[in-house]
């Protein structure tokens, strides 16, 4: 890595743009999982988390406003198109959960969901 990049990091952190950096530069930070929402599916449609481990879900919509809702993991976010929505999750319960789009997005909205598995 070029030295000037090291100088840029504190500046970017201060300006709130640190998330633009690749994960390996933020080794001490939470694991990040990228999720794409597009009518009427999430990609990936299944992710696995570890109990007690904090992760950041970075969700982007490719078309309209979507939602991501999963009450047991306290996930409740609106996903606006054109911006990245970051959701921090620290699951405390092991199991297989279904997260849904809870922002009505069209005719097959009722089938827009993803599985979030939480392991020990």
């Amino acid at each position: 890595m070029k030295p000037k990049n090291f100088l840029m990091i504190p500046m970017l952190l201060l300006s709130g743009l640190a998330l633009q950096f690749p994960i390996h530069l933020r080794a001490q930070e939470s694991k990040v999982i990228e999720i794409t929402a597009k009518r009427f599916a999430f990609t990936p449609n299944e992710i696995t988390l570890k109990k007690g481990e904090t992760v950041k879900l970075r969700v982007v919509s490719e078309d309209v406003v979507h939602g991501l809702y999963l009450k047991p993991l306290k996930i409740d976010a609106d996903i606006q198109p054109g911006k990245t929505t970051e959701i921090t999750v620290t699951p405390q319960t092991v199991g297989k959960f279904t997260a849904i789009c809870d922002h009505f997005c069209g005719v097959n909205h009722g089938n827009m969901k993803m599985t979030i598995a939480v392991e020990e």
Binding site: V65, G67, Y69, L70, K71, D76, D78, F97, T98, I100, D102, H103, F104, G106, V107, H109, G110, N111, K113
Partner: protein, 331 residues
């Protein structure tokens, strides 16, 4: 006044007609004592209670035509016939949302709303009241619904019962919203705690099955507003099947759909419509109605009408006398 039995006052009871639900609101006994109570309630609530019945229909999804039901509006049309043939004409019909199937083409969606109005206008009832579902109002914030039907949340009184249409869909999410909850709080504040209240809405106001989107995120706030009221009945649709739930003073009842049915979530993890059965095209679709057997008890019956499965069963009751006795008003 001598002591009056709790059960001798008035009740709302419901029965499934297989294509919706029929409810009847009536005094258990018409006698001098009840007459006095009715006069008191009329003075207190602004309208003297009187017997009447009403019907709940739900989830007609006009415009839908697919594998779970290739017959389009046929079940809806059948339901209209069923209601029109009821021996006692209901005073009103409540539609609990998803009147139409959504379309991103405003003209197409508008035409579906017009077709809904055309079919529902065939009902021989004095009053028809609607609340939107997410397929009516989720994409445009309820604009087209308002243009076609008026407000998405409103209230009215009918023969001593306070009816509240509560929109929990037009914010696109399963929620009522703080503004509407404030309106509700103001709306019910003028009523005595014994007033029979019927809330009709689209989604369940409790967590029935959140992973199937069978919930309202701020439903508990709504029920907190209603919790001081002794006689609250919540009628809803959305889940395309019967369901009864009781919590505090409130009884919640879902009506079947008039397009296709969803399975029992206890029996499967998949939210997938029950398959169409061409030999029994209206199976699992339905109406709700209410009646009372003259002895102060709602009856439980089952009726077959052609190919429409009609099952009649008790839904709820309301006994405002309890509140008045507690308040010492009747002593």
């Amino acid at each position: 006044m001598k002591e009056i039995s709790r059960r001798s006052f008035m009740r709302i009871a419901g029965m499934s007609l297989g294509v919706g639900a029929l409810y009847q609101v009536l005094p258990v006994k018409l006698n001098a004592e009840n007459d006095e109570i009715f006069n008191w309630m009329g003075k207190k609530n602004g309208e003297r209670p009187a017997p009447f019945s009403f019907v709940q229909l739900s989830d007609t999804h006009v415009g839908f035509n697919g594998p779970p039901n290739p017959l389009g509006t046929k079940a809806f049309e059948r339901a209209v016939e069923v209601v029109n043939k009821l021996p006692q004409r209901p005073d009103l019909v409540l539609f609990t949302g998803d009147l139409t199937h959504d379309s991103e083409d405003k003209d197409v969606h508008g035409a579906r709303m017009k077709l809904f109005q055309q079919i529902s206008s065939q009902l021989h009832v004095p009053l028809i009241k609607c609340v939107p579902g997410e397929h009516d109002a989720g994409l445009d914030g309820g604009q087209l619904f308002r243009e076609s039907f008026g407000d998405t949340s409103y209230s009215f009184d009918h023969k001593g019962v306070h009816f509240i249409a509560l929109d929990n869909v037009s914010r696109a999410k399963p929620e009522v919203g703080a503004e509407r909850i404030a309106w509700l709080t103001k709306d019910v504040a003028r009523f005595s705690k014994s007033t029979p209240i019927v809330v009709f809405t689209h989604r369940p106001l409790f967590d029935l099955r959140p992973e199937w989107e069978w919930f309202t995120s701020d439903g508990d706030e709504v029920m907190n507003v209603l919790s001081p009221y002794e006689n609250v009945t919540v009628l809803y649709g959305h889940i395309h099947r019967d369901h009864d739930h009781e919590e505090g003073h409130a009884k919640h009842h879902a009506a079947r759909s008039l397009i296709f049915a969803f399975p029992d979530p206890e029996s499967t993890a998949e939210k997938k419509p029950l398959p169409f059965d061409k030999d029994h095209p209206f199976r699992n679709l339905g109406i709700h109605t209410v009646s009372e057997n003259g002895r102060g008890e709602a009856s439980v019956q089952s009726v077959e009408l052609g190919e429409v499965e009609l099952s009649l069963r008790e839904f709820s009751s309301t006994e405002g006398i309890q509140q008045m006795l507690k308040a010492g008003v009747m002593k």
